[in-house]
């Protein structure tokens, strides 16, 4: 059975870890620590595009079930390796995996990468080489590993991606006007059956702790399209749950949620 949708909303392990790095273009605007805040507009920028790395010391061994990168300048030819080790020793690492870059039908890279794993280590390292990168440096806005919650009843109510284009221009019928182009983003509308207490608690906690402004990572199809069908997103709508006291204690019915992807 294919995996249900997965939700990652706690990034504390990586965001509070001690961070090391191979280089940073400067210590203010392009510092490596930019990987550890919620913004996807301000990146870590390296000095080169060869053998650059960042390393997280989590303080103790932590279970990591997923790893993600958002808003980067990697090309389709980039080599991205996630490594982990019990000690700060990397020859060889205890765990190593190549993270796949995905592209659209035009061959352009999706600026999001989600990878699932199930490993418990203290030290984590991301190693990148992208020798054909036209920028000559590596740039990544957000990188973190996380545990996730997998919905025990899958989302339903015709989950729908809505692709939004915030570009500006005069919309006059039959007329092509000049356009101030902005990065498109997606909205996702879906319903979650809350027939299980655990699922209800997870969703409510997600809303209570992240609110409308702290992003989470949602992946709709972890098995087949972990990167393409994922989004770094916030909850746009208020969370309404019908509290139903019926014969079956703890039947909470169903909530509808609208999420909005953050691309910049």
């Amino acid at each position: 059975m294919a995996a249900y949708a997965r939700l990652a909303r706690k990034f504390t392990d990586f965001d509070t870890a001690t961070l090391f790095y191979s280089s940073q273009a400067n210590s203010t605007d392009y510092k490596a620590a930019n990987l550890q805040n919620i913004f996807v507009g301000q990146p870590w920028r390296t000095d080169t595009d060869l053998g650059e790395w960042s390393k997280w010391d989590l303080g103790s061994a932590k279970l990591v079930k997923g790893f993600s990168l958002f808003n980067f300048n990697l090309t389709a030819a980039a080599s991205v390796t996630l490594q982990a080790s019990a000690t700060d020793s990397w020859v060889p690492p205890d765990f190593s995996a190549t993270l796949p870059i995905t592209t659209d039908p035009d061959g352009d890279v999706y600026k999001r990468l989600v990878y699932f794993l199930d490993e418990t280590y203290r030290y984590w390292r991301l190693v990148i080489s992208d020798p054909t990168n036209p920028d000559g440096y590596i740039q990544i806005a957000r990188a973190m590993g996380w545990p996730y919650y997998e919905f025990v009843r899958n989302i339903r109510d015709n989950p729908r991606w809505v692709y939004a284009d915030p570009s500006e221009g005069d919309r006059i019928p039959g007329t092509q006007s000049a356009v101030v182009q902005k990065e498109p983003f997606r909205r996702l509308r879906f319903g979650i059956p809350l027939t299980l207490r655990a699922q209800r608690d997870e969703v409510v906690t997600w809303f209570r702790k992240n609110g409308h402004f702290v992003p989470a990572v949602l992946c709709l199809d972890p098995d087949n399209y972990p990167s393409i069908d994922s989004a770094y997103c916030t909850i746009e709508t208020e969370l309404e749950e019908d509290f139903v006291q019926g014969a079956s204690a703890g039947y909470y019915d169903f909530v509808q949620i609208v999420l909005e992807e953050k691309t910049r």
């Binding site: 392009y30 000049a178 902005k182």
Partner: protein, 550 residues
């Protein structure tokens, strides 16, 4: 390479740089990581429309545009930054561009944070901007004959501004002389006098009550001399023949006597504008358009009057047939002579470049100048005498063709405080007469990104409606209102310069006078015979002699 403003689709991004003494702050309307290593924080929530103007045709001046920036005050970030260093009167540069290549961005507006122009809430900080001119503005001249510096000055001259004298007031040019003021009655027989605070090129002669007087110890650089004969402050006046300020302020320099040179010196030496803030190429180009007939002379601070630098500059611009802006690209004071120039680099806006209205028509409006400046009888008063405060000469000209055509006689007096030569005054008066004896035409347009980098005094051609491709009508931007968020300029107000092009150029396919419509006769130039008649019928209409004024 500057950005390509003709791109139909681009991720146009607005940037604001706040220049502080310690470091610069970079903001944009979204997070912007550029290849030059700069990062522009996405704290810019909005930027108001910017209206800029070169002033009216008859009153050219550097109009102060105002704008408002709203910052997102996330976690009190902007308030904290302001607390570290007050932003008041700090330089702000607005730029637009696209992509992550820094080379694809261009400055479009140089400004200063307006004093008192700030308000903050928990979520937003609003900053009001004004342009640099407001900080440069001065009351001229700056120095006075004060009792501390000049304890022995004559009473009637106390607190009189120390004038700055420009141009040639020697006897060879005219009998007009420059007043002098006693600053120390204890020196020599008649005391020490000051003519100017800006230095002199030459000191020729001194007159006591219009009679040649004796003097000594001339100091050209200080603008002073000593009278060696008796002087009674209660009844006597002193005037001199001299040449005014030079380009170096020292007598060894070159006399300043063209309006562009004097304008530049007023900005640099009197207002304290750094030379880097002046577009030297543009000043030189303006200078090249004028002749020795356009030599100017005058006094700033005469007759106890201190003047606002705006007024001084406006008068110089008017008499020099120029406009001036602070360039949004360079941040420099940039003058522009007004005559039409059909240079190939001037952009052409065609129908497809005009923004659409909701009903599908174009954002285009043609209208006549309705400021009531029509005049077909001109009197130019010139050769202003700073000692007697009267104009010593005048030049009268009327446009018989215009009077006949409109059945109306409207007169106007032009007072020239700088131009003093008949030839220059005639040309300047005739230009004014030529322009306003018809109905000047303007267009209001809506243009997309193509016009975002243009600014007042820039020129463009228009091909739309009655403005045909062959006609290639030339316009000068007088005003515009730019929305850099949407990359729209609407309206862009253009002045039809073809009326000024008459006699200087015309297109190959131009209609002849006999076949031209009334509108074309008003707006275009024509080839003429030796007597200036464009009408080749053999019994030429007086109305066809319009070329003659240029």
């Amino acid at each position: 390479m500057p950005p390509d403003f003709n791109l139909p689709i681009a991720d146009w991004t607005l940037r604001v740089k706040v220049k502080l003494s310690g470091s610069d702050l970079y903001f944009a309307n979204e997070e912007l990581a550029l290849d030059d290593g700069t990062f522009w924080k996405g704290r810019l929530e909005s930027f108001s429309l910017i209206q800029r103007s070169a002033g009216s045709w008859i009153d050219p001046r550097v109009i102060t545009p105002e704008a408002t920036i709203v910052f997102k005050n996330i976690n009190n970030e902007i308030v904290d930054l302001i607390a570290q260093e007050n932003w008041a009167n700090k330089d702000v540069e607005l730029s637009v561009g696209y992509s992550k290549q820094a080379a694809n961005y261009q400055n479009v507006f140089f400004a200063k944070v307006r004093l008192g122009g700030r308000e903050a809430t928990d979520t937003r900080v609003t900053i009001q901007l004004t342009d640099m001119r407001s900080a440069d503005r001065r009351t001229l001249p700056q120095d006075l004959i004060d009792s501390t510096t000049y304890p022995n000055a004559e009473t009637k001259s106390l607190n009189h501004p120390i004038p700055w004298v420009f141009g040639d007031f020697t006897f060879a040019v005219s009998t007009t002389r420059v007043p002098a003021y006693q600053i120390d009655h204890t020196v020599n027989t008649g005391g020490q006098f000051i003519i100017t605070g800006g230095g002199l090129k030459q000191h020729e002669s001194v007159f006591l009550n219009d009679v040649a007087a004796t003097y000594a110890n001339v100091n050209l650089d200080a603008g002073t001399f000593e009278l060696t004969q008796a002087y009674n402050p209660a009844t006597d006046t002193i005037t001199v023949h001299c040449q005014g300020r030079t380009d170096t302020g020292l007598s060894t320099g070159t006399l300043l006597q063209t309006i562009p040179d004097i304008t530049q010196d007023v900005l640099e030496s009197m207002m304290g504008v750094a030379s880097a803030k002046l577009d030297q190429t543009a000043f030189d180009a303006w200078d090249a358009e004028l002749t020795i007939d356009d030599y100017a002379r005058g006094i700033i601070g005469n007759n106890a009057q201190r003047e606002d630098s705006d007024e001084v500059l406006a008068r110089l611009l008017f008499e020099g047939f120029g406009d001036m802006i602070i360039s949004g690209t360079t941040g420099q004071y940039t003058p522009q002579f007004r005559l039409g120039d059909p240079a190939a680099s001037i952009p052409t806006f065609r129908t497809e470049d005009l923004l659409d209205q909701s009903d599908g028509t174009k954002q285009f409006r043609e209208h006549l100048d309705d400021t009531g400046l029509f005049a077909n009888v001109m009197t130019g008063r010139f050769d202003y005498n700073p000692a007697t405060l009267v104009f010593d000469d005048q030049y009268n000209k009327q446009d018989d063709a215009s009077i006949a055509q409109y059945g109306l006689r409207q007169d106007r007096t032009l007072d020239f405080y700088w131009l003093h030569q008949t030839g220059g005054v005639q040309v300047r008066t005739q230009r004014e007469l030529f322009l306003f004896s018809t109905e000047p035409e303007l267009v209001d347009l809506g243009i997309g990104p193509q016009a975002a980098a243009l600014e007042p005094t820039d020129r463009f051609r228009l091909v739309h409606g009655k403005y045909s491709e062959a006609q290639a009508s030339l316009f000068q931007i007088r005003d515009h209102l730019v929305d850099y968020g949407a990359m729209h300029t609407r309206p862009l107000v253009g002045f039809n310069m073809s009326v000024l092009g008459a006699g200087t150029w015309t297109e190959d396919a131009a209609v002849t006078w006999l076949t031209a419509t009334d509108d074309q006769r008003n707006q275009k130039g024509f080839l003429t015979d030796a007597n200036g008649y464009a009408d080749t019928s053999g019994s030429p209409s007086e109305a066809s002699r319009r070329y003659k004024y240029l």
